[in-house]
């Protein structure tokens, strides 16, 4: 049965910090940046005393910064001590889970104006400990002792996918190259460089140091060269993986009937879905993410839409294989066709199903708790026509976000609409 909420919810402000590695900043500093930008985007202005609650996605400040109980601290840092402040954790889907719970709280009638945020400060730890912290999003008793890492889980799904559909691993390179192309046009992205830019700078660095200059003649050659692009968990290479990142993002949600007090161009949340699952080994398939398909079905049903109605999507490309599986789980392409669509450019900014115009997690960066909210920032820009050089054509009106926790133990899908 299709479930609908009784009261509509709108996004009326959206901002994010720059994503990257910031040794001098803590999560509270990053969130202040995101909050200030969000405030500046509220067209008719925001009086912060209107904010009634703060919902925050954060995976593991406990491990990354040795700081638990982060939500009240962050609330205080943006001058909002006193209001309810909650941290929600569902691994990399924490941001979208916070968005969903905040919108349900408004839909319930309890609140009218809610701040939603996401933040993660990951780069303080040495890489081995970051890998371990991320691995704690999987089943540490029964999956991790096998020697799995997060890149490893997705790499294993990639081998299952390649085998099942007789797919070309070159499709993974196409996803990365496309997302870097988009990220190069996003000033907030951790890597606002194309793969070609990165190749050039590697060549220059080699020449400057007197090393042999690599001879890659195109991006695919670079991608296939372990000297330039080492394996992390075969078949996933360094440039198949989203980076370790610091960053924060914030959006302002209000009850639908109040939206015009804040802006003449609100975005309405018209569909929301969330599903869970057991460990990767407990699923019927290894070449897709069942919780994503479930969450998408809920969101499409609530919105009364199908995948054909979606003008653009921000999907959870923590690894390149994840974007290909998402493009199938969300119904943009039939099972086993996502890899071909990626190679054919169908997910590029001018393709039939633009995916990750922001650069995605791959190029924009993946501060895990912030990623779900940062997806909404891109949707906000694209649907309001202010995405600058990376703005897609055709006056997009409907967008989707897809945020996965772990290997799909959680997935959250939202659909946004601009009405005019």
């Amino acid at each position: 049965m299709t479930k609908k909420t009784k009261r509509g919810v709108a996004v009326v402000g959206a901002g994010m910090s720059k994503f990257g590695a910031f040794p001098d900043k803590t999560s509270r500093d990053l969130f202040v940046e995101a909050y200030q930008e969000m405030k500046s985007t509220v067209d008719k202005g925001l009086d912060p005393s209107q904010i009634e609650a703060f919902y925050m996605g954060n995976f593991s400040a406990d491990q990354f910064e040795k700081q638990a109980h982060l939500a009240p601290i962050i609330a205080s840092w943006v001058g909002l001590a006193g209001i309810p402040a909650l941290r929600l954790e569902d691994a990399c889907a924490s941001g979208s889970v916070a968005l969903r719970q905040a919108s349900l709280a408004i839909a319930s009638g309890l609140y009218d104006v809610v701040l939603v945020g996401g933040v993660e400060k990951m780069t303080d730890l040495p890489i081995g400990e970051v890998t371990d912290a991320l691995a704690s999003a999987a089943d540490t008793q029964f999956e991790i002792p096998a020697g799995f890492t997060f890149p490893g889980f997705y790499a294993a799904m990639a081998t299952a996918y390649l085998d099942e559909y007789d797919a070309s691993p070159q499709a993974f390179a196409h996803v990365s190259i496309k997302n870097h192309k988009n990220g190069a046009l996003n000033e907030k992205a951790q890597f606002n460089q194309t793969i070609a830019d990165i190749m050039e700078s590697k060549k220059k660095r080699a020449a400057a140091k007197g090393y042999p200059v690599p001879t890659w003649s195109n991006e695919l050659e670079f991608f296939a060269d372990p000297a330039g692009n080492p394996n992390i968990a075969w078949p996933m290479t360094l440039f198949d993986c989203s980076p370790v990142s610091d960053g924060a993002a914030a959006v302002l949600l209000v009850a639908e009937e109040l939206a015009y007090q804040f802006t003449d161009t609100p975005l309405y949340i018209i569909g929301s879905g969330q599903a869970s699952d057991g460990a990767l080994t407990e699923r019927d398939t290894l070449s897709g993410i069942p919780s994503a398909a479930k969450a998408a079905r809920q969101a499409y049903d609530m919105a009364g839409l199908t995948s054909d109605d979606i003008d653009l999507a921000e999907v959870h490309d923590c690894f390149t294989i994840a974007e290909i599986m998402a493009s199938e789980d969300l119904g943009f392409f039939p099972r086993g066709e996502g890899w071909k669509a990626a190679m054919a450019g169908m997910t590029a900014r001018d393709g039939v199903h633009p995916i990750n115009t922001s650069g995605g997690l791959k190029a924009k960066g993946h501060p895990v708790g912030a990623s779900g909210i940062a997806q909404v920032i891109e949707v906000w820009k694209q649907l309001r026509g202010v995405a600058g050089e990376r703005q897609i054509a055709g006056n997009p009106r409907i967008a989707l976000t897809h945020n996965v926790g772990g290997t799909g133990q959680t997935c959250v899908v939202h659909i946004f609409e601009r009405r005019d």
């Binding site: 968990a233 075969w234 996933m236 290894l286």
Partner: protein, 138 residues
């Protein structure tokens, strides 16, 4: 013969004895690994411990080039990578384990669908030797 109980840690007790255990639902026949008190298919709590034959096929795998700290402590590194994977047991359910008897330097030679047999592997963790589940390609 040892009788195992459904607590999750018993999985590792059984593994020390070289046994792979799980649960079967008496009501619907669903087989699960590791063992569960409550059936994940029909919600029944009428389940019993079963022992698996330890045979199956390789369903997914990866070569870990950048290991987690626990595996690094056991001597694995970018220069000494290992294979880990997901095995579908003959009895139906899937389980993860390190995959042995494969050429980690040539992952293209490792085939999904290969027959595997359970074994155990000793790794050192925090200075202590522990037994882990592994599968050998046969």
């Amino acid at each position: 013969m040892t009788t195992y109980t459904p607590e999750s840690k018993q999985f590792f007790t059984a593994l020390q004895d070289g046994k792979l255990i799980g649960s079967a639902c008496i009501d619907c026949g669903h087989v699960m690994i590791p063992q569960r008190v409550i059936c994940t298919r029909c919600h029944s709590d009428n389940t019993e411990i079963v022992e698996f034959a330890g045979e199956g096929v390789l369903s997914a795998f990866t070569i870990i080039n950048v290991p987690p700290t626990s595996m690094a402590e056991s001597g694995f590194s970018t220069k000494n990578p290992y294979c880990t994977g997901i095995v579908t047991l003959t009895e139906g359910p899937r389980i993860s384990g390190q995959i042995l008897n494969v050429d980690v330097a040539n992952p293209q030679t490792i085939k999904i669908g290969s027959l595997v047999k359970m074994t155990t592997i000793e790794r050192e963790r925090n200075g202590e030797k522990k037994i882990f589940l592994a599968f050998e390609v046969i």
